[in-house]
Amino acid sequence: MMATDLPAAKPKLQWMTATVREVIDETPRVRSLVLDIPDWPGHKAGQHVDVRLTSDDGYQAQRSYSIASSPDAPHVMLTVERLLDGEVSSYLAGDVIAGDQFEMRGPVGGYFVWTTALGGPVFLVGGGSGVVPLMAMLRHRAAAKSNVPTTLLYSSRTAEDIIYRAELDRLSGQGDGFTLAHTLTRGQPDGWSGLKRRIDRAMLQSVGFAPELKPRIFVCGPTPLVESAARELLDLGHAAQLIKTERFGPTGR
């Protein structure tokens, strides 16, 4: 053995069995799963897990999902968007009923994480199911009674695709420094007075915090949305080190 500074080996993240307690329809294509996981070690808002499904003939498929629940909540929640022909998502957000089981490993990721100790201001930018880890941050913020100035800019296709709509409305009505801005890219209900285009530079500028305030920025969603929002944020003068991104998927929406 060479005299190296090899980090001490960490215990392996074990596969745990998760049992579905409750299935919540969030939108026509999105479901939340509330899970019972004995020995869940706890997590930080923004982290994800790996889920592994096993069929009765032993075939397995594995994908990553962000944790939607606050670390302060009694149960872990995942929120999954059903993709056309999606191998894992069409099961998790389609077939699953209470009592079903699958394996889970985590929490993973020490980077796309926000705790109240990190402070703010905080600018969250999400598209579609990309709101999931951002919701964990907002739930954590609310549970900790933090009043760190925080803004969520959230892009959905239509009003019925907005995930956590009622809860977001409630959180933004508390007068505790949380501001919510929806944008709807593919059709707006009658009387919609909010934003109605894809996230662009002008929107990031008017909705977000000025670069001088050094907001911590978290961008999450489909890859094209994350790529373009992160580029515009850099151009607006935000420091690269303050822009954290999580890319969910290969294709555009």
Partner: protein, 205 residues
Amino acid sequence: MAEPPISRGFRGRGSGGKSTRVPPGQHLVTDFPVLSAGPTPEPDLANWRFTLEDGETPLGEWSWQQFNALSQTELTVDIHCVTTWSKLDTNWRGVSIDTLLEAVGLSEPPGPFVLLHCDGGYTTNVPAEDLLDGKAMVATQFDGEALDPEHGGPARLLVPHLYFWKSAKWVRRLQFLDSEIPGFWEENGYHIYGDPWREQRYDGD
């Protein structure tokens, strides 16, 4: 090992067409997903430099033009991302680490460990021997085209036998070290080595 619980009613795509080239827990994709921790940096070829270092001692430095004048290598390989996608037969062109060492007059790596430094401040660690004998390159082309910034252009490391986060995007500096220093993802819960065939995804795997 305990049997995994069966996920009632889950069929998936089945293992029928599963290639023996796909490591455990991975699935094939035909597109090319993107994974990085922050914004994609704007390439600036005029000021681009690639440097090779032994600890803090510079061994060599190349401008974009000089780098492209080095002897070029082509590799067609399978790549495996820790987020569980694998892509077969990807074609890359660039400069092998063997060529870089040769260019500075070395036949052996000056240290057993390597830390790669990238635009945006990212780092990743790889044992030096994993970069030698044609196993790795600094790639500037993918599928015959200049490497897209999203995918790490102008230049990224390519070390295809490890999970793809090790193939650091926007790489600028390759530093040989006497001891191993964990890089960015490795500091953030990912495995220090990252062998997809041993499913070394996370710290402790």
